[in-house]
């Protein structure tokens, strides 16, 4: 009966791809506190994991939780099975969004032979199982993997691998049922958001004038807001609009969370893991994040590092002068200031303490060394094609 079936859906929420009803609960974020151990996962999720694994032709000898996202409702387990080590992932994102990432991972492995973990198929030949209103999947556990060294050589290895990844990701077409995750056309919007939030920072610092960090924040926020405004103007004057029209498949995918832990050295080269947040974008966004993050770790901008990181990337995925210009524009945005201050809205009274005062000082000092570097590399791509 029509009605009965619909009722079942409402209450069941989750069905495996093969059509078997798996369970009755919806996965929600969970609370961790002093009473829970480091990688606590609620029992019902562990039970769901048991059921999910039934869909695989694997005999699981052991299952160990290796990381969790309790605030979002995600988790990763390491499995030892009759077919070697595997990972089991509970993806916290909307199922339709996860479909996009899974499709990308499959494309990278099967079509482009990229060094990303192959997805293990279910008994029904599917990439995933739906349970608890979320998607789960099993992938190869790549061993051995070791982080590259935290020096310029390591940084260059990361950059080369990133370029390679971007190049191989071109041409991806998401499955029909998937949401298309694309940031290609969203740059002006995210720049604008940064500008807007600078106003928020100022307004909050004004409202909480008496806090230790407020005067420092008020002292510098206008300058950073100006940087962001200039960035948006430059973006509008650049070839961005033209470039973005080239479309999603042309540009391929960005990882969005790339760095020393998600790019690691394996036996036959660099592997890129944790692709859940993958999205279409101009590729240099990952590169920009890697550079500005690395400079923040150095507490200063170093022209040799920046130049060689870009060169290493360019070797694997050549940058056109137009794209290089966008990279320069993005590097000039007040990324680190924004990233570190945006938490202010949550608990201004806790945030605006001595520690943040120190943090602002560090950011400002690091920022001062950025401008000569950007100046230096400004013309590096002149005449290139």
């Amino acid at each position: 009966m029509l009605l009965v079936v619909f009722q079942q859906v409402e209450k069941t929420h989750a069905i495996s791809k093969g059509g078997d009803y798996v369970e009755r609960t919806t996965i929600e974020p969970w609370i961790v506190d002093e009473t829970t151990h480091e990688f606590f996962v609620p029992d019902y999720i562990e039970q769901l994991a048991d059921e999910v694994l039934q869909s695989y032709d694997l005999s699981v000898k052991s299952r160990q939780i290796v990381t969790t996202k309790p605030d979002k409702g995600g988790a990763i387990w390491k499995l030892e099975t009759n077919r070697g080590s595997k990972s089991l992932k509970l993806l916290h994102r909307r199922p339709t969004r996860s479909l996009f990432s899974l499709g990308a991972q499959q494309y990278l492995v099967e079509v482009r032979e990229a060094r990303v973990p192959p997805i293990i198929k279910t008994k029904d030949g599917e990439n995933y199982v739906e349970a608890g209103g979320k998607l789960w999947f099993v992938a190869e556990w790549i061993e051995p993997l070791a982080p590259v060294t935290k020096d310029l050589e390591g940084a260059k290895q990361l950059c080369y691998a990133l370029g390679e990844f971007h190049r191989l990701s071109k041409g991806y077409t998401p499955p029909k049922q998937a949401e298309v995750a694309s940031r290609v056309r969203k740059w002006p919007k995210s720049y604008q958001k940064m500008i807007t939030k600078m106003t928020w920072f100022r307004n909050i610092a004004n409202a909480y004038k008496d806090m230790p960090a407020s005067p420092s924040l008020l002292e510098v926020v206008d300058e950073f807001a100006e940087q962001a405004k200039r960035g948006l103007e430059r973006l509008h004057q650049s070839s961005y609009a033209e470039l973005s029209k080239l479309g999603n498949a042309y540009w391929g995918l960005v990882h969005q969370d790339y760095g020393w832990s998600n790019g690691q050295m394996g036996e036959n080269g660099m592997w890129i893991i944790d692709l859940d947040g993958i999205a279409f974008d101009l590729p240099i966004r990952d590169l920009r994040k890697l550079i500005s993050g690395t400079m923040a770790d150095l507490y200063r901008w170093d022209v040799t590092w920046v130049r060689e990181m870009i060169e290493a990337y360019d070797e694997a995925n050549p940058l056109t002068p137009e794209l290089y210009e966008i990279l320069l524009i993005d590097l000039a945005m007040p990324n680190e200031f924004y990233k570190n201050i945006k938490e202010i809205v949550y608990e201004p009274e806790l945030f605006l303490g001595e520690q943040t005062k120190q943090l602002i000082q560090t950011i400002v000092e690091t920022d001062q060394s950025k401008w000569p570097v950007l100046e230096d590399i400004q013309t590096d791509w002149k005449g290139r094609r």
């Binding site: 029509l2 409402e10 928020w200 945006k342």
Partner: protein, 491 residues
Amino acid sequence: MKILMVCTEKLPVPPLLGGAIQTYISGILPYLRPFHDITVLGISNPSLPDEETIDGIHYVRVPGKVFEIYRNSVVRYIEANEFDLIHIFNRPRLVLPIRQAAPQAKLILSMHNDMFDPEKIDLEEANEVIATVSGIVTVSNYVGNAIRELYPQAATKIRIIYSGVDTARFLPGTHQKMQKIRNELRKAHGLENKTVILFAGRLSRNKGVDKLLEALPELAKKHKELALVIIGSKWFSENKVNDYVAYVRALAEKLPIPVVTTGFVAPDEIQHWFAAADLFVCTSQWQEPLARVHYEAMAAGLPIVTTARGGNPEVILANENGLVVENPEDPNGFVTAISQLLSDKSRMKKMGEKGRELAVSMYTWDRVASELLEVWEQAEEVTQPTLEQAHAGEVTSEPLEAIKESPKEEKSEQETKEKEEKAKKKAKKKANEAAKEMAKQAGRDDDATTTNETKKKTKKEKRQPFILSSSYTENASDKKKGKGDPPFIIG
């Protein structure tokens, strides 16, 4: 006619969780019910049955939330059930799938916002949608214009029907029904002797309540005893905190005046807060279709400060029922406008009275419903006219009793193409006539011109009696239950 109203995939009807479209549908149903056999198709909700008949309206609820899932459920339902007219709310992307499932039905589309924007629907699909619907109803001129600009060919199909408000529920705080509630609410929240500014809406950058919070320190310097009430949660009933909400809270905490944040208020209690307030402020920053809260504020007799964005100014008679802030990104615009009102209490009072007057005379649900009935009755076929369709047109304009007769039998009597055309014209005339009648039945006086037009219609048509059949609805729903069970597929 046998009519299906297709809601969006977001929120259930009745509007347990609020929602402009859901409120709109619920508001007009009582006035539509006497004239047609109506089914409302919407999303399921744990607290509502998947199928029920209340006050002669048949409700069917299918899985939703995600558009694709909802679309599939809707299509499956329509494949298994026949309707003369399907009215789709704010989802142009449902139109083509529905057209495929119901090749013969007339389709009407209601547009409540910018779902025709190129990011929301492909150009090609939009063109097909516009071609296949009989009419497009918009909630404001702004929404209609936006569609016309993108798709000029839609112009002849677009009709504005401003939304409405339950003026018996939203009442001024001075109304005898509300006095006690007003006093109690104000007392409970420490608002006695305060001039209460009310904001009601989602906490989002688009809705812009932060600009009001920015304006308040300045206003508090100029005017004594101010207070602010913020009704609204982030996403209807969910009280999740994102960065914007956190920002707004951070600002509110430091304001020199009392701020009452209500969180989610059940839709059937929201009028209490309107009655407890003294001034209504809408701070919308985006090109808003036309926010419902304006009607509610008017009905509650509140003077309004709103922004020159989207359709909002369309319901403001400047200086009569409110003021429009031209440049809402700048908090000073709100300082100036609000200050103007607060400095002249008698003007505030007059504006509130004017608002109430407008609400009662122009923005009631029965007016909305009668305009919609006109749209339904006047809806023309857009597919190639076949005998069947021409006839369906005629049948629909007859009193409901006539629908019980088998249209197929009658169809065979009509043979020539000529007759068919005639029948169509006649049906249209009758439809006009019927719509006027219905408007009257619904208790609304039409303006003089339309009444004169009505008089021109043939006497024969005028004499057609209206027979309201509620039993028909029940029969229909019984029939539906007997229909085959469509297969269930999960995407």
